[in-house]
Symmetry: C2
DNA sequence: ATGAAAGCGCTAACAC
DNA sequence: GTGTTAGCGCTTTCAT
């Protein structure tokens, strides 16, 4: 028998309206009454029913987060920061893992829509049009996806790619493979575009392989293909793939970075402890998660708040998977 | 303007009750009417309000998951499986990260209680009494914690520890350090107990260090302490700590496993790609997450269902951080 | 400053 | 098989 607002009202000898006000509009109620009410509420361990409250206010006090893969520390890093920032403002968080499936992704936001005040879509695989449609039905903020009219926290993938190419070019590499990730992800597109630009500028020859699933297994699969291309360096879409590729290269007795250099994106903690430690582009995961929540909260507080695409800087971390090409 | 059950009823020329039934008790309504209702519902994109529904049924269709650290792939591995299994049964999932803080943990379940049908508490740090109290207010299932009267999915940490000690003993080690984790976690206690037993049986001398925070930084910190103890092997509480320790040992130019062997628990993907790859106890994360959800769903379906403590086997994976002691 | 009462969107009796 | 209606627990006018 959960305790309701009536129980508290009865015990405190006030109306339910007063109890309600004592909790959600404390200044509207007499100091003494308020104290009495709060005391009873505390004593009874009263917690207002979010369902009942939500039914009338239209607010749920929750936000939703949808990611393509909870198995990737990149996204759980975002999640950790999202949940922490959300909780700080009293919001709960709902998670959905789309498993890289656009259909699931869409279904996930639809099914969440009614139980959250807004949703945070991470690196979505659905089309711009679908995103816009979704945004019309529920407040939406994007992470690593740029769609006009929708706020987003963006990580400067392009800049990271430029740094990577420059690094490789400076080492003397002339022909690299890019192990591409999800074809319709914004990150993959920015990286691909930046790659082409930087390659042209530095006279680097690029062979783009894939798309591969942005997982460990995608990396192991990709490694052999890259090896067949006679490149001296590989740029992996992300750390997980790079780790998979590294494992496969070791199996095939390819020395990294002696025979082949390898770079990637994310800078997971684990990138620093691999054999050898990965040269990779650090992504501002913590800031992005936090900022994405703030963007969403701002929108909830004021639906007419300006749309902002906040771009966060990235930085190449040079470790031990890159070296001048052999000979 | 969200579409309500009335809109659908009006358009389909039936009462709201019929719409309700067409959706949640299809067999109670005439085939033709049902079709018409469903057609209208689909056309309008109607989704029943979970809040309204929940208010009356007392069910939310959600479960909560609370973990100590979303930054640890062990827990996000659980999360991934929990969310997937939950979704398969139509449940949404709420996540909370307690950051290893028992007070937060308790507050998290309290604040979730009203919005979920039950909660899954992973490796909780709170006391048995508090858990029992919580369980009295909301259906609870535990993961890696044994409390009488409460169902749980348990991983056989003790067995894993025995395997580790036997492995180390067989290699010839006589004096090991255990880098302990959270003092009041069930996992840490089972490991400690099993450690003592196995050590006695094999004549292994054990020095228990810590507790350390079960993080990367806990491992780096612990490494120096272990080194000062003149042991020939280290057993870390988990992979993350082992990775941290490994990094620190490398900084200090200690050869692993040449000068020092190292084992741990979890078998994260990353354990296989570290330098050198970790000898570690594989935990049945996937099965545990799935089973924990099933235990919870069973309890929701039938509150009088028997309490079960389901223990899942673990297995030592021997890789390259263990070898016979020097000399 | 407080109370009475309407009603949020839905389900579950209860009629018919 | 379908409709009517009474609430679920709360917030919010509107009175007082």
């Amino acid at each position: 028998m959960p305790v309701t607002i009536r129980d508290v009202a009865r015990e405190a000898k006030v109306s339910v309206a007063t109890v309600s006000r004592a909790l959600s509009a404390p200044h509207q109620v007499n100091e003494a009454t308020r104290r009495r009410v709060l005391a009873v509420a505390a004593e009874f361990g009263y917690r207002p029913s979010p369902a009942a409250r939500s039914l009338i206010t239209g607010k749920t006090g929750n936000i939703g987060l949808i990611v393509p893969d909870l198995g990737n520390p990149f996204f759980t890093g975002v999640l950790k920061n999202v949940q922490s920032r959300a909780r700080q403002s009293g919001y709960g968080v709902f998670v959905g893992d789309s498993d890289e499936d656009p259909a699931v992704e869409e279904e996930l936001v639809a099914s969440m829509a009614k139980q959250v005040d807004g949703v945070l879509l991470c690196s979505p695989g659905i089309k711009d049009g679908q995103i816009t449609a979704l945004a019309a039905k529920t407040p939406l903020v994007l992470l690593n996806r740029k769609v006009r009219g929708i706020s987003a926290a963006l990580m400067d993938s392009a800049g990271g790619m430029r740094q990577s190419i420059e690094h490789l070019a400076a080492l003397g590499h002339r022909r690299c493979a890019f192990l591409s990730g999800p074809r319709n992800s914004w990150s993959n597109r920015s990286r691909t575009t930046a790659l082409r630009g930087a390659a042209a500028r530095t006279g680097m020859e690029i062979v783009t392989l894939g798309p591969f699933p942005p997982r460990y297994s995608g990396g192991t699969q990709a490694a052999d293909l890259a090896l067949a291309e006679q490149v001296t360096a590989i740029i992996a879409y992300n750390d997980i793939m790079a780790l998979g590729a590294l494992a496969r290269l070791r199996e095939r007795d390819i020395d990294v970075p002696g025979e082949l250099s390898l770079t990637s994106f994310d800078d997971l903690v684990f990138a620093a402890v691999s054999a050898p430690p990965l040269t990779t582009v650090a992504m501002p995961v913590d800031a992005a998660g936090r900022i994405a929540v703030e963007l969403l909260l701002a929108r909830l507080a004021d639906p007419s708040a300006p749309v902002v695409h906040q771009e966060l800087p990235t930085q190449l971390i040079v470790r031990q998977t890159t070296a001048p090409p052999a000979r």
